[in-house]
């Protein structure tokens, strides 16, 4: 994991979103991350879908075509058990990354 930080964090954000919101389509994920981060993070659609596809192929999430509230067909994603496990790992490694980065920054200051 965490081969590349940006990709890693996109996975983390997506997995976390799905664990918080249950079932969501791609557009919904974009909106949620935007809203939940107080408009600080904006997910690029061009990266989201490849990531979703990859995570689905890895068995972390599962998808299903459903109708939205406005009667539109959309592909909904939900977390699997493997995805839960992956999310925990990703959270841990993100915490460590943050800790590590912060330590370095502190060292530079002091």
């Amino acid at each position: 994991m965490a081969k590349n930080d940006l990709q890693g964090s996109l996975d983390l954000l997506t997995l976390k979103t799905l664990s918080q919101m249950g079932e969501l389509h791609g557009y919904g994920i974009v909106l949620h991350i935007q809203r939940a981060s107080d408009e600080m993070l904006s997910v690029e659609e061009g990266s989201l879908y490849p990531a979703l596809h990859r995570m689905e192929q890895s068995g972390w999430i599962r998808s299903e075509w459903k109708l939205t509230d406005t009667n539109r067909k959309a592909k909904y994603y939900r977390l699997t058990a493997a995805g839960q496990k992956e999310l925990r790992k990703a959270e841990e490694s993100f915490e460590q990354l943050v800790k590590g980065v912060r330590a370095v920054l502190r060292y530079a200051q002091g």
Partner: protein
């Protein structure tokens, strides 16, 4: 398994595409709707939504690339691991790869040859429409001459040219018909030195019916095949390249065939090589030339007009929608009408003459009919090799997975997924097979070349184009791959399911009786080794029988001394010599050859002994009951033939000069009669009838021809009387009244038995007459090496006549070797495959025992510590191996006894259940098996008890 889903995705790309497309569309629609709610105009809302995405095709590509990347990534990971694992045990890897390569390579090579020889398709347009005509009847046809040129198994595909023309004109089932005959040797001059070239007579519509075009110039057409047409020939591409260097100006050039001027009008399409495998020609000439360009001796008979010379093969192209049986019914009706009520009936009603139509490819089998049984035999042989190789791989994989059971258990205990382990084992198996296959391809390519070289040794060219066959390669690789996967995976799956604790503890208690899995493996391993040994015994016994056949043929006494004899063919008839001139030439040459230093004796004969050529006849002995004939071989010979060949004279005398003079005058009387008869046939009047009667009289009263017979003839037929001085050949060969008996033969002596055409044939009654016409083989007995005489011989022949082609120069020993080339090929290949089978089986045995020793190191150590002698250990390990070898051998011998009778027709001088061969093979196997056991046993004896007990 997600890996499978991903592979599936790669193939189902279009579906994936649609799915992604739909998802992206719904995303954009949702954002557009939101943008509108936020106050944008619908157009702007959509533009913004699309903008955020960038290029949609590029996006789709990225989704799919994510997929492929993951797949390749994990594949690469597994591959790296697999390579590492294989490199860790180089012995196992080498043996497995070699086994696979040999199995795959040998099978691919042999199947490629089979494909080229037996399954090839004819190089013509729509070959499936082409049929060859074949007749059948209850008795032999009443015809004068029969000729076949090796196109069909027997000569029942030959017809007379007039009959072919009738069939061509009357049959409505065919869109076209073609006749051909040959190739025949013809004297080709006008292009440098005179040489022998091979010409095939074809009917005018041959090229158009087959759909073959000219490469340059034009093909022969119907207008070329008429008596008045200017003589024209078409060269084959290969001959054009070889003899004319591909010179385009040959079109229109005039050359001479047997002293007849002909014009080259075209060169055939390079793809059109031959119809019948093995029959390759240099050029095609129209059938209408057959009376002027003879190619072979037909006296003064006309092959173009006489209905009782059957010599052309007839092909028909079925009209679309016409079935073979419809065409067959029509052809039979025409054939029957012509044979029963035509100009000269060849059959009676009761003979029920019929025509059968065969697909041309199957009908024109030519040499393949000789090679086919050999190839099928080899196919079975290599099939066995493949089985042994698979068993070997299976055994190796089993042994390996058994030794890795602990590794698997440890990894499972550490939390590895079962799927992951299975995937990795799978990758290893596939990796092994791929490496094996790569070497297999090399081996196959080499094998095909080696096979052709082996086949072409001596004077015989392998007449088929062979290339490694990719379908077969795929098949064999598939088989070995599946074997590897099954036997590598099955125990691994079982291993991953086991309760972990006993496996981990196994080493602590690796005394007999507790290692459950190892024991179970061992039983399966035993079975595999026994199977391998049994299979290899079958292959070895087959090979042994074929090798003994070869040796028997080699050591056979042919009845004459084959050493130090140079033979070569001279054909004055195609250089236009008359019988008289031929006779003078021969005696002249005989004297000059005899004068060459180092030549002790010279003679000649119509066929060389053991060159495959054979003439024969039924002869009736005067005074014997009618129809009681002697079926005898006939060989016209020159002066001193018997002394030159060292054939002993048993009674009477040999041929003398006076005998030749007698034969010449009798022969002349016969020719005169033939000429008169032909004239009388065309202009039947009373003067001609009188001339015929007197010629008849002259022939009947000419002197009988002096002949020698062999011992078998004398013993079998004339046991009651002394045969010397007897007369035979009064013509009482059948019930029919003999109206004009010929002068017949007088026996002047008896000589020792010799083989005639083939070594394999039993010795038959033989009759030797004075040679007075036709081509001849000269035999020069040398004091030393006969090949040293070749230059002198060439000089003498070229001085005797410049158009005299000298061909087939070789020694008598080489000649015999050549007739044995199929046998030699078979014995060499089968011994190679036998050795291969033996080696593979022993590798299997070795692998099993080596594994045993490794597994039981601790036990052996304890035994040694408790005072076991080295001898006991040796007995423990070797005994087990020998037991397996013995069981396998017994099964193999039993199987061989059942199987080898199928090759009994290929054997000579040895029975299919020859005990000597079986015992020899069993001993050979025992020795090699002992060796295979000894190496692991020695390793067991070297075990240091202290180290073994401390192990782990």
């Amino acid at each position: 398994m997600s890996i499978l889903r991903r592979i599936a995705n790669l193939f189902r790309r279009s579906k994936l595409d649609q799915d992604i497309e739909a998802e992206l569309r719904s995303h954009i629609e949702m954002r557009t709707a939101d943008n509108i709610v936020a106050g944008m105009s619908p157009k702007e809302a959509r533009r913004q939504a699309v903008l955020r995405f960038g290029s949609r095709p590029a996006m789709k590509e990225r989704v799919i690339a994510a997929d492929a990347h993951m797949f390749l990534d994990s594949l690469w990971q597994d591959l790296c691991y697999g390579v590492r694992v294989l490199r860790k045990s180089p012995g196992f890897t080498a043996v497995a790869v070699l086994t696979l390569a040999l199995g795959i390579g040998a099978n691919t090579a042999i199947f490629s040859v089979i494909d080229a020889v037996l399954l090839r398709s004819l190089p013509v347009k729509d070959p499936q429409q082409l049929v060859v005509l074949r007749w059948s009847a209850h008795s032999k046809p009443k015809v004068h001459g029969f000729s076949g040129y090796g196109d069909c198994v027997d000569q029942k595909c030959s017809f007379s040219l007039p009959f072919f023309r009738i069939m061509d004109a009357q049959a409505k089932a065919f869109s076209g018909m073609a006749a051909f005959a040959g190739p025949l040797d013809m004297d080709f001059s006008g292009n440098g030195e005179a040489s022998i070239a091979h010409g095939t007579f074809v009917s005018g519509d041959f090229f158009s019916t087959l759909g073959v075009n000219a490469f340059i110039g034009r093909p022969l057409t119907a207008s070329d095949d008429t008596p008045s047409a200017p003589p024209a020939i078409v060269l084959t591409y290969a001959y054009w390249q070889r003899a004319f260097g591909g010179d385009r100006s040959v079109i229109g050039r005039s050359v001479h065939l047997d002293n007849v001027a002909v014009t080259i009008i075209g060169v055939a399409d390079p793809r059109f090589t031959n119809l019948t495998p093995g029959n390759t020609q240099d050029f095609f000439l129209p059938c209408s030339l057959a009376d002027r360009v003879k190619g072979e001796w037909w006296g003064n008979q006309s092959r173009t007009s006489e209905t009782d010379i059957w010599w052309v093969i007839a092909l028909g192209r079925l009209k679309p929608g016409v079935s073979i049986s419809q065409a067959q019914a029509e052809a039979t009706a025409i054939f029957r009408n012509e044979m029963l009520h035509g100009a000269s009936p060849a059959f009676k009603d009761a003979d029920a003459p019929e025509i059968h139509l065969l697909p041309a490819q199957a009908g024109l089998n030519g040499e393949t009919s000789q090679i086919a049984p050999i190839l099928y035999l080899l196919m079975i042989g290599v099939g066995f090799i493949l089985l042994i190789a698979c068993a070997n791989v299976a055994g190796l994989m089993l042994a390996r997975s058994a030794t890795r059971q602990k590794e698997m258990s440890v990894r499972l205990a550490l939390g590895a997924g079962r799927a992951r382990l299975v995937r990795q084992l799978l990758t290893e198996s596939v990796l092994l097979s791929v490496i094996g296959a790569a070497f297999g391809i090399l081996f196959a390519a080499w094998g095909v070349r080696a096979f052709i070289e082996l086949f072409s040794s001596g004077y015989v060219q392998f007449p088929f184009a062979v290339a490694p066959d990719w379908r077969v390669l795929t098949f064999t690789i598939g088989v070995t791959l599946i074997t590897g996967i099954l036997f590598g995976l099955a125990p691994a799956l079982r291993g991953t399911r086991v309760d972990l604790t006993p496996s981990l503890k196994e080493n602590a208690s690796s005394l007999p009786g507790t290692a459950v899995h190892a024991r179970r493996f061992f039983r399966l391993g035993n079975a595999l080794v026994v199977t391998q040994v049994a299979l290899s015994i079958v292959v070895l016994i087959g090979a042994g029988l074929l090798v003994r056949t070869m040796r028997n043929l080699h050591n056979l006494n042919p009845g004459f001394d084959a050493r130090n004899i140079l033979i070569f063919n001279i054909d004055p008839t195609i250089a236009g010599y008359s019988d008289q001139q031929t006779q003078e030439l021969y005696s002249n040459l005989q004297q000059r050859f005899a004068a060459i230093p180092g030549v002790s004796s010279v003679s000649y004969s119509e066929d060389a002994l053991l060159d495959g050529g054979h003439s024969g006849d039924d002869v009736h002995l005067d005074g014997a009951p009618p129809k009681q004939n002697v079926s005898t071989g006939i060989l016209p010979v020159g002066l001193n033939f018997f002394s030159t060949m060292h054939i002993p004279l048993l009674a009477g005398r040999t041929l003398m000069s006076a005998d030749f003079a007698t034969a010449i005058s009798t022969n002349a009387a016969q020719h005169a009669l033939g000429a008169v008869a032909t004239k009388q046939h065309s202009v039947p009047d009373s003067a001609a009838a009188a001339a015929l009667a007197s010629a008849q009289q002259a022939y009947t009263h000419s002197a009988s021809v002096p002949v020698l017979i062999n011992e078998t003839f004398a013993k079998k037929i004339l046991s009651k009387q002394n045969p010397v001085g007897l007369h035979m050949g009064d013509g009482q060969n059948s019930d029919d009244e003999v109206q004009h008996p010929g002068p017949g033969y007088t026996i002047v002596g008896i000589v020792g038995d010799t083989k005639y055409a083939y070594l394999r044939r039993p010795i038959e009654p033989m009759m030797f007459l004075p040679l007075v016409s036709n081509s001849a083989y000269f035999e020069l007995r040398a004091a030393g090496n006969p090949t040293a005489l070749v230059k002198n011989v060439r000089d003498i022949v070229s001085r005797a006549g410049e158009n005299l082609p000298l061909t087939n120069v070789r020694t008598q020993t080489e000649q015999i070797e050549q007739t044995l080339y199929l046998e030699r090929l078979l014995s060499r290949l089968s011994s190679f495959f036998g050795a291969l089978a033996l080696v593979l089986a022993c590798i299997g045995l070795y692998g099993l025992l080596a594994y045993e020793v490794a597994r039981r190191t601790r036990e052996i150590g304890i035994r040694m510590a408790l005072g076991a002698q080295q001898r006991d250990l040796l007995r423990l390990i070797v005994g087990q191996g020998i037991l397996l070898a013995v069981i396998g051998s017994a099964l193999g011998i039993a199987a061989a006894l059942g199987v080898t009778r199928f090759i009994s027709s290929m054997l000579f001088g040895v029975r299919a259940n020859d005990p000597l061969t079986i015992v020899a093979v069993a001993i050979l196997l025992a020795v090699v098996a002992l060796l295979a056991c000894y190496i692991p046993a020695r390793r067991a004896m070297r075990v240091d008890p202290m180290v073994a007990l401390r192990y782990e």
